[in-house]
Subunit: 231 residues, 2 copies
């Protein structure tokens, strides 16, 4: 039981630290404040019975969060091959927004400290952000039947994921910024845009006489039945 209590205290310290780190930054958070928030005696080095240093506490917090996210990653492939592009994109958008909410604390922390903190932070960026982009780009290529080029898929992934990330991260990061748009409008608009990008991609990027990338091969099937556009 002594060990259980220890583990609980350790978790409480990590909880408090991650919250404060993400809110005030690593250097803006003192050991004393963490102890206070964790219910320990402020100013006493109680933390050092659980972590050898402040940086080790940061590392442990990030690693714990990464472990939780890794568990979610396995669920990620649940929605795929539903057959209907519109439905898949809608689910994908909602899922990404929900995951961004869960990652909000970590992302705030990374935004402040990723460039100069310990290596675990840059690793976290790769695992959370970079991997998501790569997976989405690969999904785009697969979903298009390899019609879009790697470069096109990367561009679509950058635009698409970037839009959702900004929609969630900017207000969170900059304080209460720009007007609040409800999620339904965000998702609906995003799906419309992505649907367009995925169904009008050209097989390759060599510019013809038309400067628009709108003439290319269309994926038939579930979404584009040709009757939706009314010239």
């Amino acid at each position: 039981m002594g060990d259980l209590s220890t583990a609980a205290t350790r978790d409480r310290i990590i909880d408090a630290a991650m919250e404060l780190f993400s809110e005030h930054g690593y250097r803006g958070t003192s050991i004393t404040r963490i102890e206070e928030a964790a219910g320990l005696s402020p100013g006493a080095g109680g933390i050092y019975h659980h972590f050898p240093s402040k940086e080790a506490l940061l590392t442990a917090g990030v690693q714990r969060q990464l472990s939780r996210l890794a568990a979610l990653r396995d669920i990620r492939r649940l929605f795929a091959d539903l057959g209907d592009l519109h439905t898949e994109l809608t689910l994908a958008a909602r899922y990404v927004l929900a995951e961004l909410d869960q990652e909000a604390q970590l992302l705030r922390l990374l935004a402040s400290e990723a460039r100069h903190g310990p290596r675990i932070l840059t690793d976290a960026v790769v695992q959370v952000v970079d991997l998501t982009y790569r997976e989405f780009a690969e999904w785009i290529i697969d979903r298009s039947g390899s019609v879009v080029s790697t470069q096109q898929a990367d561009a679509i992934a950058t635009i698409g994921l970037g839009a959702l990330i900004s929609a969630r991260l900017l207000p969170n990061l900059l304080g209460t910024a720009h007007s609040k748009v409800d999620d339904h409008s965000i998702v609906e608009t995003w799906v419309s845009a992505l649907e367009h990008l995925l169904t009008t991609a050209k097989p390759n990027l060599s510019a013809g006489t038309d400067t628009h990338p709108c003439r290319g091969r269309l994926r038939s099937g579930d979404v584009l039945d040709g009757s939706r556009y009314e010239p």
Copy 2:
């Protein structure tokens, strides 16, 4: 001449401070390091002959940057009413990317300190980010001939600007993140998506039998001549 030298030193201090603040954060940057980077004697309080406190230095730096941006704001309305939506969007995308590059330092700083720094920082967020969103949303409404609703315009602005902001800000903010996509692909993809959103917006959002927002009224005119889509 003594005054000129003073002003030059003051500017050098601000240069060094803004660079270090944006890179290591406000609390992660010591007065000593700023003095060192500005060519003053490290550890001496040389800075305090130009600024009453560290926070006043931060404020002066942000204000100087905001002044420079305010000058650019007047040029912003140069590209409008070119008549061709595709061209306008392409110019808008390139302009936003270029401005994001110029604002990179300030945005890094705001991402780290906006939530708890002095009020000038939240003001900066409003002036730089919030105002841009509002202007873009208004431009969308005007450009569509008031066909899109305010809510739709906000959603399109959020998606559209968010995509560009993420494309530039994330690598900048998180260190070297996700694969580098060249600007041409970014702009081309973004223009295609925004063109679609602006030309297929429905007059209002009440859901009909079609769950897609793709059937709505089309703006004729310069862009959509009906021949670009090949059903």
